[in-house]
Symmetry: C2
Subunit: 146 residues, 2 copies
């Protein structure tokens, strides 16, 4: 029983945020909405190569989306940034396979910890975001090691 994903209405979303409906941006949002996991720029480029956009254009589109709040950039590692739709999606966290970089979402949230954090913090008064992630080995890689 694999989770069924439905493409969002990319055009409506672009319009809502005042972006123009270009082939690349529509496809970027659709690809993101159809993915079960956050995707790196490289993979997004591959999956949208049908529209043949310049790398610079892809970066600009993603940055615009992130700034607008449509897309969330997840920094897994110094050189590894993953993108996922932030609109119409439940806030989730992630677990990353250290061997093959598989990323899976985790339906837990640590929102409830925020108040405790504020209480013990010496310097902070307000928290508006948090992130939690795990590193591990996925089943496939565990098998491969043996």
């Amino acid at each position: 029983m694999k989770k069924q994903l439905q493409p969002i209405d990319a055009e409506a979303l672009l319009e809502e945020y005042g972006f123009k409906k270009t082939a690349l941006r529509i496809m970027l949002l659709e690809v993101l909405s159809l993915s079960t996991m956050p995707l790196p720029v490289a993979k997004l480029a591959r999956k949208t190569k049908k529209v043949g956009a310049d790398p610079a254009t892809i970066y600009r589109a993603l940055n615009a989306f992130v700034e607008a709040g449509i897309v969330t950039a997840l920094t897994v590692d110094k050189t590894k940034v993953l993108y996922e739709l932030s609109v119409s999606k439940t806030h989730v966290h992630h677990i990353v396979c250290d061997s093959c970089n598989t990323v899976e979402s985790i339906p837990f949230c640590i929102k409830s910890i925020e108040q405790q954090v504020i209480k013990v913090s010496r310097q902070f008064k307000k928290i508006y975001d948090h992130q939690m992630s795990f590193k591990g080995t996925c089943r496939k890689c565990l098998r491969a090691v043996r």
Copy 2:
């Protein structure tokens, strides 16, 4: 009652891990051990400029420490990596001020969540690390905004 920090025995630590006791590496570890918060490379370079090491040398030293497990690299942001001693230190998490980048440690841990994560995960069987961080506004910046 400000927390009192004591410098570690950097030379003993270097020896323990089979590193040579050079001026830079000794000083790097001492600076890290005397800091209440994780530090970026730029700041480490400034604080060790007495020994006048080349940037490449500093990067190499830090990378060697991270690989050896003496130092932990904390990826706050795509372009922001902070270093802290991982030896003889309790495992902690962090909160970062989005305005001035102040970083504070949080004495909470989400170790206990790992088992739950494994249970609900479709692809993962083993977790060996986790990270949790918060973003907020520190008191100083909150005041400045007004």
